[in-house]
Structures are given as C-alpha cells and as structure tokens.
C-alpha cells in the first residue's frame, strides 16, 4: 500500500501561504464577478419593471440572516449591507416559505415590517418579492419596489420577477466555490491529490495556505485589494486618476523609505 503523503517541508508551506494570499487577492479583485452579474440582474429588473428600486438579499448560514448584497435604482442603494432575520418581514416570509408575494399600499400600513424600510429611509408603496431558488433550496430573495406607472404589480410581473430570480440563483450557484478561497483550494487540490491523501492532511494543507489571510498585519493589503476591486465599477477616466494618484503616493513613500534607510546607514558609519 502506498504511504500517505507527508506534510510538506517549511519552504513548501511558505509557498502554500503565498499561494493562499495570491488566490485570496485574485478572488477579491475578481470576486466582483458574481456580484457584477447580480448587480446587472437588479439593474435589468429596475429597467424592465420601471421600478424605483430592486435588491437581492442572500441567506448567510453563518449568521442565519438574510443580507442585502446588491441593489439598483435611486432609492435602493441604502439597503446594501443590511441584514434581517429570516422570520421577519416580507423578504423573510418569501425566503422561508419559497412563496412569491406582492403587496400594495404598504406605506399606508403602519404594521408593515419596517425594520429595513426605516433603516434605508425609504418606505415603498408596492413591493413584489420572489424567492431565489437553486437546484435544492431557497438561497435568497429578489425584491422589486414601486413600479412607476402602476399602483400594483400584476401576476405577469410576479412570474417575470421569478425568471430574474432564477437567473440570479444560477449566477450565485456558479460562483459559490469561487467565493471562498479555502473551498476553491480544496476543490482544486483534492482531485489532483487522488485517493491516497489523508483527508485530514489535505485539510491541514488548505488551512496552512489560508492561515495568513486573517492576520492583522495584512489588513492594509486587503484594504488596498478591496479598494482596487471597487475600481471595477467606476468610470475609466476615474480609474486613470486613481492610478495617477497612487503612482505619486507610492513613489513618495518609496523616496521616504530610501531616505530613512540612507539616514540609518549613515548613522551606523
């Protein structure tokens, strides 16, 4: 019987850590891909329905809450990042039951689940909410708020919203593995390693590769990566401006650090 693959040596571990960092950076830079598809779906939804706003909330198993991930429309942006319990409000109901729902005269009803509406300072008058369903389960909710040319949403609107929700669910399923560096590494390494590798050793490898990702001394790097990722959504001329500014700042920092270095060298003489 073939011996189990031993854990790699120190140099190899260092390389793994480096790989993990690069994968994470690439994931964050590109991590907008799934997000970009979702954003384009809510934008298309707003346009098609001539609605004031549309948003997608996804279920987060870690917190057991629905988190608003993307939104479109002038009134929709405030909702991004908010989270609600799965037993709260219209989105919560639609998530837990998988049943699409449209409501009118919402603003006139003081009892409407306003937890979200009040936080975003936007209380809709009409709302249609449909579940995002992948092959197995409900994973989130697409909400469309306030159709401009109509006092309510039609049955056809609900069914059409269902189609957009389906597209969103497909996009999410496709990017699920890529959303998590550890899952991505495991998905690549496991089939390559074959059946002779101890699962615990494999888990340890992945853990090694991702061990540095949560460290504070790298938070500056992740901040930069996240900022760079956000550049994907700004105008090209603004990207140029940001790059110019960064170039100046980097050159300035490098000059400073060379000067300090020379200073230290001289004092050592």
């Amino acid at each position: 019987m073939t011996a189990r693959t031993p854990l790699p040596g120190r140099a190899a571990r260092q390389l793994l850590i480096e790989l993990g960092t690069r994968v994470e950076a690439a994931r964050r830079l590109e991590g907008g891909a799934g997000q970009a598809v979702l954003r384009s779906i809510v934008e298309a939804t707003v346009n098609l329905f001539q609605a004031h706003a549309a948003s997608i909330a996804l279920y987060d198993p870690t917190t057991d809450r629905l988190v608003y991930r993307v939104a479109a429309g002038e009134q929709g942006q405030g909702v991004i990042g908010l989270s609600i319990r799965t037993d709260q409000g219209i989105a919560g109901y639609v998530y837990t039951t998988g049943q699409a729902l449209a409501l009118s005269d919402v603003a006139n009803d003081a009892r409407f689940g306003r937890a979200v509406a009040e936080k975003t300072a936007y209380i809709p008058n009409t709302i249609v909410a449909v579940p995002l369903v992948d092959e197995e389960r409900t994973i989130g909710v697409l909400s469309v708020l306030d159709k401009r040319d109509s006092a309510s949403f039609s049955l056809r609107d609900m069914e059409l919203a269902g189609v957009f929700a389906r597209q969103a669910a497909i996009a999410i399923t496709a990017s699920r593995v890529e959303r998590d560096t550890a899952a991505l590494l495991a998905a690549v390494l496991e089939p390559l390693a074959g059946p002779n590798v101890d699962p615990d050793a494999m888990e340890d490898l992945v853990r090694t590769a991702t061990s540095e990702l949560g460290r504070d001394d790298q938070s500056g790097l992740w901040r930069l990566v996240d900022l760079a990722a956000r550049l994907r959504s700004v105008q090209p001329e603004q990207v140029g401006l940001v790059a110019d500014l960064l170039t100046v700042l980097v050159e300035h920092s490098e000059r400073n650090s060379r000067r300090r270095h020379r200073g230290r060298s001289r004092s050592a003489d």
């Binding site: 037993d87 837990t96 998988g98 049943q99 009118s104 009803d109 309510s152 039609s154 269902g162």
Partner: protein, 277 residues
C-alpha cells in the same frame, strides 16, 4: 418575448381565459346544488402558514385551535401555541379569505414560521402530517417546499391525505422548478386569476395547475388587526379552500376526487350546453 415562464397564472388571465370554456361535464351539477345554503358548518379547515391572529375581525372568532411545529434535536413536534400570533400576516390573510366564504367553518392554525422555527420543509411536512392525522376536512397550503430531499415525504403525505378523505388545497409556486406538494395530482393546486371576485374560479383541464381563483390585488387581513392589498397564488388557494369547505359541508359523503370534480363542474369556465341554454 419567449421566456421560460412558469406562468401558472397565465391560462387564467386575460384573453387566454377564453380557452378554458368547455361544456359542462356534469350538466346536473350547478352551484346551487353544490353549495347553496351551505355555511361550512361542521367543517374544520386547517391553515398551515405563519399563524392566524385569533382576535382579527376578519377571522370572526372561528379560530378553534392554534398549534406550531417545534424543531428540536429529535423529531419535529407539534405543540399548542396559545398566543395564536401571526409573525407575518400571511396566515391571517388566508384565514380571513376562508372565513369570508365559509363563515361557520372552524379554523385551525398550524404555524410553521416563527422565531424558533425557520419554516423549513421538514416543519412543513410535520405540520401537514399533523393536520391529516387530526382529520381536517380541508387543509390550506399557501406555501410549498423546493426540497428534492422531501419529494418522497410530501408525495406520501399527499397520498395519505387523499386516502384519509382530507382535501389538500395548495397554492402553485410562481417560481420555475418543482415545488411540493402543489404539483401532485392528489392535491387541488391553485394559481391566481385577475378578476376581482371571490366567487369566480376556473378549472384548467391542462395540468399541473388545475384551478385559478382570485389572487390579484386582494384586500386581505394582515397582522396586528390590519389589512393590506396583496397579490399571489397564496391568496388564490384559500378561495378554493373556502368553497371546498362549503361543498364538503353540504355533501359530507363526497371524497377529495369528488370534491375536485364538483369544483370543476361548477367553475366559471364550465358553460351550459345548448339544451339547458
């Protein structure tokens, strides 16, 4: 635009509705015979949903029992829910519609949604199992499960209900892909039509969704004693549940498939033949 729409409501809406016109299969059966004079007295209608507010004026004091499903470490358990709260308003909306049509039918709320219960398919299955065991005459299911893992469970439950003489009325899901048990033949599946009349309903001989009832901009009861205007197959199903309760009260010997036949025969699409004018 050719989209892959689920379109369960499509056959019941607008111009498409004309295609539902068909000769009455049983000319001797009309609405007067089917439920004339019936108030639903003696019937129990179970509502598996977000709970029902006992004191809501739309429920008319007819909520007889309120239970909820508890998902513990072991098997899910159905326990009394004396507070009779509705965490959304949705279940109270369904109860109000049923009470509006069948004012003497007794209502039982089985709550599958709440702070201690995430409305998982397994809780829904436990609730349905309980309602069948209790011998409810009609069960309103304005919710469904997408869980493939529960396909078999719901299929068995739909059969159990059918054989136990319990009529399941289930809202079709407006989202692509299967949902259970609304697409099983043993249940009365309902989508929405766009005519503002509680007594107007259609039979669609082209399944899986066989019935269309009022579900667009329906003025419904909502939580905390309120009302709201709501759209969805969720609100169409209780219209059929209410009418089914009326029929069952008048014809207690009728079984679920006979009730379905009576509903089809008395639907708005069933036109009188030439002899009857």
């Amino acid at each position: 635009m050719d989209l892959d729409l689920p379109a369960w409501s499509e056959p019941f809406s607008g111009e498409r509705r004309a295609q539902l016109l068909r000769p009455r299969a049983f000319p001797g059966i009309d609405r007067e015979w089917a439920w004339g004079g019936s108030t639903g007295a003696g019937m129990t209608v179970a509502i598996i949903d977000s709970g029902v507010e006992r004191d809501h004026p739309a429920v008319g004091g007819m909520l007889r029992r309120s239970v909820r499903v508890e998902l513990g470490e072991d098997e899910p358990a159905v326990v009394d829910d004396p507070e009779a709260l509705d965490v959304v308003g949705h279940g109270t909306a369904c109860a109000g519609i049923i009470h509006g049509l069948a004012p003497d039918a007794e209502l039982v709320s089985v709550r599958v949604l709440g702070p201690d219960n995430k409305g998982k398919g397994i809780a829904f299955a436990a609730a349905l199992d309980w309602a069948i065991e209790q011998g409810a005459h009609v069960v309103n299911l304005s919710l469904s499960s997408k869980s493939d893992a529960l396909f078999g469970t719901f299929h068995d439950l739909a059969d159990q209900a059918y054989f136990a003489n319990v009529l399941l009325v289930s809202a079709a899901n407006n989202v692509p892909g299967p949902s259970y048990p609304s697409l099983f033949a043993a249940v009365v599946s309902v989508a929405a039509h766009d005519l503002a009349d509680a007594w107007t309903f259609f039979y669609n001989p082209d399944p899986p969704v066989e019935f269309g009832a009022y579900g667009l901009d329906v003025d419904v009861a909502w939580r905390d004693g309120g009302r709201i205007v709501a759209t969805g197959n969720s609100f169409a199903a209780p219209h059929i549940a209410g009418i089914a309760a009326l029929i069952r009260a008048k014809h207690p010997e009728a079984t679920p498939f006979e009730i379905k036949s009576i509903l089809a025969a008395t639907s708005n699409g069933a036109v009188r033949d030439n002899h009857r004018g």
